[in-house]
Structures are given as structure tokens and as C-alpha cells.
Symmetry: C2
Subunit: 336 residues, 2 copies
């Protein structure tokens, strides 16, 4: 079985966009606008169509089985509006993910977005974790390390402000994928420099912190192959040593996992060569940041299964763990 641990619902029916556009319109008129949870005007038939013609089709074409599925990351838009509009939007988006997974229970498992908002205590997101995980059987969360959308004006993940979330994660034994949303800062490109920079930043924040001492069972997934981290593994090993931090194998690799959203063979080879196989989870983030076909291979850039199949950097047994075993261990609430 092949589990893709990183998929977003990027092909939502038009009722989703309409809901959000209305929120944004109301917020433009009045930044203190609250509104109500309301409704997504989306039918089951629309969901079926949007999934069958896209993610489900690609699962079949590429030979993967199950996608761990969450709301579209770039649309989380935590920098938009306020804690109330973020709460309503988030609840709707998570409810929609639940509907997808109910319609295709063999092919998708749900992960929640959180109702983060700039300047609002991360603690306030705990109730959405309880709602989605305890009441709706979600198996993980996405955690945004920069709700300000590229201005980095909120707390570091090292800060105790995040501890209520880590406590709940530990209690429920769920992992968080650290994932920013769209950049509203013109200096950054959302799915390029912002995503990759945030991945590297999250790793460094946690590495320099006491978080894993205080939460020894915490499980964090750094997406997009860990940003710049594996390529600069020597720099991070050296920085750890210079700062009196234990070797990374002891200080972070008991808690941090990397996905395989690296879109070329040599990059995947490096990832598999540098990190222990037990810290790597298969992922593609299809249909996402890069949608084209690589003219050098004739296959989609984001068809990452091929790179792992073709790599000689790990054993066949390790590949089985990267494709399935590690995801089952990290997402312990995933049902057989």
C-alpha cells in the first residue's frame, strides 16, 4: 500500500471560492466583520466529480492508494480577516474534507487546518483540534508557523505560546505538518521561496528550542523535503554542535519527519541519502505547486513516486517503510 502523506484539496467546487470571496468582500468593507459559519454551497456530486477527475484519477495513474488530505494550504489565508472569520472558514474547510473522506473512505484520510490568525494566541486553535480529531476522526493537523503570511510577526514555534497545541497533539498522538499559507508579502513567492523558507525556518526554530525536551513524543512533519535542510545538513549539524545541542539524530530526528515533495531525481536521491529512512514519509502534494510535465523525463514534476522507485539510495525494505510503514507509525490514528 502506498500512502501519500501530503495532499490538499486544491480542486474544490466553486461554492468554496464563493464563500471565501464573500467573506473577503465583507472584510474589505469592515475589517471587524464577523459574520457566521453559514454554508458552503457544494453538493456531493460536485465533490465526487472534482475528486474523481483529479486526485483519484492521479492516484490510479501513478499507482498510489491513499492520500492524507487537508484543505488547500495556500487558501488557509490566516492573514486574512480576524479570528472569527478564520474560525468559520476553517470549520467549513475541515467539514468539507470530512465529506471528501466519507465519500472516498478507501482513498483519503482527513487532516485539519487550524483557525490561526495574526496576533491571536495559538491556544485558541485547540478547540478546532478537539472538534476535528476527537469528534470527526481527523488524524493530524497542519500548523502554520507564520500566520502573518510572510512578515513573520508572530511567535516562533519555539515559543511557549504554541505549547497548548503541542500538549493536545501529544495527548491525542497526532502529528502536525508545519505548513505556511499564501504569502501576502511581495518579497515572497508562495509555493517557492515562502514554502521552502518556512520549512527551513520551522526546522531551525525547533532544533534550537526545548520543544522536544518538553514534549518528547511530539511528531512534526517538515514538508517539501525539509526546505533547505537536507542539502545543508552539514551546516545544521555544525550549528547544533557550535550551540551545544546534541547531535541531530538525538535532538531532533526522534521527533521530526520529512516528506518527499522534491521534484527531481537528484534531489530525492540526496534526501534518501542524508536522512534515515525512518524519518522520511512519501508525499507528492499533487495537484499543487508544480503542475507541468518535466520535458526531461516526460512525467509530471510532482510524480514523486517515480523518483523513489528509481533511487538506489535506500533498500527495498526502506522503500516500503517510506511508502507506508512510516506514515502508519506517525499517523497512528489512521485506521487500517
Amino acid at each position: 500500500m502506498i500512502i501519500d502523506c501530503h495532499g490538499h484539496y486544491t480542486t474544490t467546487p466553486p461554492g468554496v471560492d464563493a464563500y471565501r470571496k464573500n467573506q473577503v468582500k465583507m472584510l474589505d468593507q469592515d475589517p471587524s466583520y464577523i459574520g457566521e459559519k453559514g454554508l458552503f454551497n457544494v453538493t456531493d456530486a460536485e465533490i465526487r466529480e472534482s475528486i474523481e477527475s483529479n486526485q483519484l484519477r492521479l492516484q490510479k495513474e501513478r499507482g498510489t492508494d491513499l492520500t492524507i488530505f487537508s484543505p488547500r494550504a495556500s487558501w488557509m489565508g490566516h492573514h486574512i480577516g480576524n479570528e472569527y472569520t478564520s474560525q468559520f472558514w476553517t470549520e467549513q474547510q475541515n467539514d468539507l474534507i470530512r465529506r471528501v473522506c466519507d465519500l472516498f473512505p478507501q482513498n483519503f484520510a482527513p487532516v485539519a487546518q487550524l483557525p490561526q490568525s495574526p496576533g491571536v494566541a495559538p491556544e485558541k486553535s485547540v478547540k478546532e483540534i478537539i472538534r476535528t480529531v476527537e469528534e470527526m476522526d481527523f488524524i493530524g493537523i497542519n500548523l502554520n508557523p507564520d500566520p502573518s503570511g510572510g512578515f513573520w510577526q508572530d511567535s516562533s514555534l519555539a515559543d511557549r505560546a504554541f505549547y497548548p497545541i503541542y500538549e493536545k497533539m501529544s495527548e491525542l498522538d497526532i502529528p502536525a505538518m508545519v505548513h505556511v499559507s499564501a504569502a501576502c508579502n511581495d518579497c515572497f513567492h508562495t509555493t517557492g521561496s515562502h514554502y521552502l523558507g518556512a520549512d527551513t525556518t520551522a526546522f531551525q526554530q525547533l532544533m534550537m528550542s526545548d520543544v522536544f525536551k518538553d514534549f518528547p513524543d511530539l511528531k512534526i512533519i517538515i514538508p517539501h523535503g525539509g526546505g533547505a535542510v537536507p542539502y545543508h545538513w552539514g551546516r545544521f549539524r555544525g550549528l547544533a554542535q557550535d550551540n551545544g545541542i546534541a547531535p541531530l539524530e538525538e535532538s531532533v530526528l526522534k521527533n521530526i519527519y520529512f516528506d518527499t515533495c522534491v521534484y527531481h531525481q537528484k534531489g530525492i536521491d540526496l534526501l534518501l541519502d542524508i536522512l534515515p529512512a525512518e524519518n522520511i514519509l512519501f508525499a507528492s502534494e499533487m495537484i499543487g505547486a508544480v503542475r507541468g510535465i518535466d520535458p526531461e523525463t516526460g512525467h509530471n514534476f510532482d510524480d514523486t513516486k517515480r523518483y523513489i522507485d528509481n533511487s538506489d539510495k535506500v533498500s527495498a525494505e526502506d522503500k516500503i517503510n517510506i511508502f507506508e510503514g512510516n506514515a502508519r507509525r506517525v499517523f497512528s490514528r489512521l485506521q487500517a
Copy 2:
């Protein structure tokens, strides 16, 4: 001959720190403080001692010949003070680099920091380019893409605000190394996530821009092995294709160069394997971000010459170009 294109004067005598501390003290009392250029209380004997026991010693030990040398990057501190204090500090720091290179003309060649300041037009830095390059024989500049020190509140490098600098660079045929300074944002670690994120960000800003169409001869060096870029070369190739940008070989590799400040063998192997050899310049950034000895090799993490010597990813001829030829081409004002 082996040219290290990325060295900073990180071992300055105490008079440098004293000058800056006084500026900062005065600015703490009055943010509109201007002061005057004043003097660094630093003797030639102190400079000799600080260089001979550090950078010059390591050049000899490691078998390199010439370091392209600029003021300490993390001390540029463009976010501190205002355009006037930044101007005076910058002039002093550049004057000091000139003194180093006059004392050791066979071993060091000068690159200038710029007097950037948050919210101040980059155009105002042109006169320091004229002073250092035209009047003091500097051969390049360091350009900070985020004078706000991790809040990314100024213009992107794609913005026309930077065009006066690009015009002067083109006219003088000098390259710029894009290099941030210290992060004053707690979300970032200066020499880890901030440096690497900025490298990736600068590459993406330029890749998505018209800068190289408007300045076809512009030469930009992305340090620290290009941040996350080579590891994610497939993502950047795919993003270029999705955005209607010509293949990276045509759209950016005629203008962008990468240094070799990657502190482990497999990272260097990836860099040499992914990028054309003509786009790679040898560099170590010693004595810099990572000062320890790698217990896995018994050598300094930042002794990057060893990784290139040991790599089988490029030919002996390519290595000569990486060690010398490319630097001579890019830093065309470097005298034989």
C-alpha cells in the same frame, strides 16, 4: 591559484566593535542620532595580527591563495539606526577592508558593504559604490535583499527601486553577492534559516522578474550554495515552466552564480551535479557561520575545498574553473 570568493572580516580588532557600540548607544538614546564618520581606533599592527592568526593562517593550512573579502555580513546591521549612521558605519567598514587588502595585497581583494537602511531608496547606495569601486578599487559589492533584518518590509530585488544599483553595477562590470545581515526577528536564526531563506528568496525574486532582460550583463552571486535552490531545482524548473518563463539555463544562468558554502560532501556533490560548472564559484565563508570540526571527517565543516577536491561530479578542468577561472570572469576587476 585558488580564489575563495566569499570571506568576511569576522575577526576585527576591538576598535570596530567599540565604534559600533557607541553608535548603537547613541541611537538608543535618540533614534534620529546622526553623529559623524569619526574614526575606527584600529592600528595596522592589530589588523596584521587579526588576519595573520586567522584568515591568512587558514588560507595556508587549507591551500587557498586569495580571499575576496568584505565586511562581516552579520554586522552590516542595516536595520540598526538610520541612513546616516548606516552610511558612516559602512564607510568605516569599507575603509577597513581597504586597509586589510593594502596590507596583504596578494591574499585579499576588497568587496564593499552598502549603506542600506529600511525604507531608504537603494539608489542612495550608489555613491558608496562609486567611492569604493571607482576611487578605492573594490571589485564587487554585497547587496542586502532585506534591510529590515527578517521582516521583509522593503522592496523585492525585482523592483525598479534597485535599478539604479543594477545600472551602476553594469556600467562598472562588478558583481553583487546577495547577502542578508543579522536577523532582528526572533523567528529566524541569522546564519541558518535567515541566510538560507534569503538566498532562496533572492533567486526566486530575480527569476520571476525582468531584471535580467533589462540588465543582460548583470552578475549576481547567490551565496551558501544557493540556499534551497539546487536541492529543489526541479521545483524551480517547474515553476518557471508553469509561469511561462524560459528554461532556467536561458533565463537566469547567464546572470546568476552560486558559491560553494555547503558544509558537507553530499551537499557539494549535489551542487556540482545540478548546476553547470561555469555557474559555480569556490567559497568557504571561513571564519563564519560554522566554526567547528566535523567529527565525521575530522576537518572543519567550512573547509569546502576538501569536498570539491573529493567530488567526482565534475572534471579536473571544471574544478580549475570553479577554483579560479569563474571568479576571474565574474570579478573582472580583480587584478592578476
